[in-house]
């Protein structure tokens, strides 16, 4: 059973001064599943991401990814082990072309970054791979456009493309549909499901849209004021009285 767990978090706490953004959180994320992390604003979701992916050091606790202790490892080392993330705000290389956005990540994964004098154009395999990724995301037509000129929804897809290009074993998406129109949200949800089916990558997603959460997640984690309030299948979470009381209210029935 242990082998099914890809990310294991034990007793994780993070304090800023006296304020605890996370308090003693222990969760396991199963390989090959889509897990959703939910909780009201300020529940500690983004801090959870930042601590796990090496942006912050945890105050206490341990993070194990694929059997390796990655607690306090710097961000680039976490990424190299195959744990990648996207960001809540659009976080791409705005002035570079869409293709270059993906290529940067591919260069990093294939350890070609210290090749100093050979032109990027001669790396056929990298460019083909970038093309495949853009095609999968439906962005191939925009490959040569400067990223900042894309529509908002497309920028968010580039964001996912950057994560995808680093050959992750697990992707942590931070509110991938934040600020999207209903159409864009639907497109994003379909895209995540498609990527999941095609690649089998494990996903952890924070999301505020409950419809999205309950339609795609296999398992749901609920954070509340920095503590893990509940975890379980969508059905269990729906019926959990503490979750209803603390966070969901009556909105689930709607």
């Amino acid at each position: 059973m242990e082998n099914d767990v890809i990310l294991s978090v034990k007793g994780l706490s993070k304090s800023f001064g006296k304020f605890y953004a996370l308090r003693d959180v222990s969760v396991d994320v199963k390989k090959g599943e889509i897990t959703a992390l939910i909780g009201p604003n300020g529940a500690g979701k983004t801090t959870f991401y930042n601590v796990i992916t090496g942006k912050y050091r945890p105050t206490t606790g341990r993070v194990v990814f694929e059997g390796r202790d990655i607690t306090s490892l710097p961000a680039h080392k976490v990424a190299r082990l195959g744990l990648c993330r996207s960001f809540q705000i659009t976080n791409i290389f705005q002035e570079n072309t869409v293709e270059e956005n993906i290529l940067a990540s591919l260069v990093a994964y294939h350890r070609k970054g210290l090749s100093l004098f050979k032109g990027l154009g001669s790396y056929r395999a990298l460019r083909e791979e970038a093309h495949r990724i853009l095609e999968m995301l439906g962005l191939a037509a925009h490959a040569q456009e400067v990223a900042k000129n894309l529509a908002y929804g497309d920028k968010r897809l580039v964001e996912i493309g950057i994560a995808l290009a680093s050959h992750p074993k697990m992707i942590m998406l931070d509110e991938p549909t934040a600020g999207m129109t209903p159409e864009e949200t639907e497109r994003m949800v379909k895209m995540v499901q498609k990527l999941f089916q095609k690649t089998g990558i494990t996903f952890l997603i924070t999301e505020h849209d409950m419809k999205v959460v309950f339609s795609i997640a296999h398992k749901i984690l609920v954070l509340h004021q920095g503590c893990l309030l509940a975890q379980g299948s969508p059905q269990e979470i729906r019926n959990n009285p503490r979750v209803r009381e603390a966070y969901l209210g009556g909105s689930l029935d709607a």
Partner: protein, 324 residues
């Protein structure tokens, strides 16, 4: 797109042709001026590897220009080395200096990086200013000859301004080509990505400190080559080569020409010197004019002269394309 490419190629060829042929017909003053422009073009291009490509504004880049210059002057005066070994040693000295200063400086971002490089640069300045026995203090190192270029099969004197011009031209072109290759490589892509968004780069598995360090060292190395050439051109290595006002020059040139285009800073160097040359014929206060030109460029043309020209050309070509 094709049209833009052929236009670019034509402009480059014309520029190269000009640089090789013009001095044949020019007087000594023009040749000297052009030599200085070439040297500063390389200096500005090396600075721009950090500024335009990596997003790091260094205010101490003259440190490596000066290290190269002092090393060259020292080697030639005390050891009478010939050109190539002296140039090689000066380059290595500058690169080592950049590796050491860079190791610390790249740990900070933005304004703090600028201040740290300024601080280290001025430390080098006070060092060369105070260490009289080694550097000649405020007088600098003077009174040496341009060493011969020993090509094994033949020894060439570089004494005449024309000979030194062509030597500088070859070195600066080679240096520029190396820098240009660097920007086109996967390494260059990572640098540009770091300029846009360093945090995101670290989250795809890049050790940004390492990449910044390499870029800093490479930029310092090339600044050292320019400095070595300048010391020979000027027959002198003086503390002014290391002062922060010297560090401001490549910054101005890059902004003037356009930091996002590879040759922008080189064009900036050309504009800078031509302006200085023409304005100082009429008035002593050419800095006022430089400031008066810099201010509107920063406000209205942040892409610099070359960047703006290219954007215009692209728009024209696109419009023509639509018309057909």
């Amino acid at each position: 797109m094709e049209k833009g490419k052929s236009l670019k190629l034509a402009a480059l060829l014309a520029g190269a042709l000009f640089l090789f042929i013009f001095p044949h017909f020019a007087g000594v003053f023009a040749v000297l001026l052009l030599t200085e422009i070439l040297i500063f073009a390389l200096f500005a291009l090396s600075f721009n590897l950090l500024f335009g490509y990596t997003g790091l504004l260094s205010f101490g880049h003259a440190a490596f220009f000066g290290l190269g210059g002092y090393a060259m002057a020292f080697m030639v005066q005390h050891f009478h080395l010939s050109m190539l070994p002296a140039l090689a040693i000066s380059t290595i000295v500058a690169a080592l200096g950049a590796a050491i200063i860079g190791f610390f400086s790249i740990r900070r971002d933005e304004i703090y990086f600028a201040m740290l490089t300024l601080g280290f640069g001025m430390m080098i300045f006070t060092l060369v200013h105070q260490w009289r026995s080694l550097t000649g203090g405020s007088d600098g190192i003077t009174g040496f000859e341009v060493p011969v270029l020993d090509l094994l099969v033949k020894k060439l004197s570089l004494f005449s301004p024309w000979a030194y011009y062509y030597f500088s031209l070859v070195v600066c072109l080679l240096g520029a080509i190396l820098l240009w290759r660097l920007t086109l490589s996967p390494f260059g892509l990572i640098l540009r990505s770091m300029r846009e968004n360093p945090e995101r780069v670290s989250f795809v598995g890049i050790d940004i400190k390492l990449y910044r360090w390499i870029a800093f060292t490479a930029a310092g190395l090339m600044a050292g080559v320019a400095g070595a050439l300048f010391a020979l051109y000027d027959r002198m290595a003086s503390p002014s080569m290391v002062h922060w006002t010297m560090s401001a020059k490549p910054v101005l040139m890059a902004i003037l020409g356009g930091p996002r285009v590879f040759l922008g800073p080189a064009l900036g160097a050309l504009i800078f010197y031509l302006l200085e040359h023409f304005i100082t014929q009429y008035t002593q206060s050419w800095m006022i004019f430089l400031g008066a030109i810099l201010v509107p460029i920063v406000i209205f043309f942040p892409q610099g002269v070359l960047g703006t020209l290219i954007a215009w050309a692209q728009r024209l070509i696109r419009r023509e394309g639509h018309g057909e």
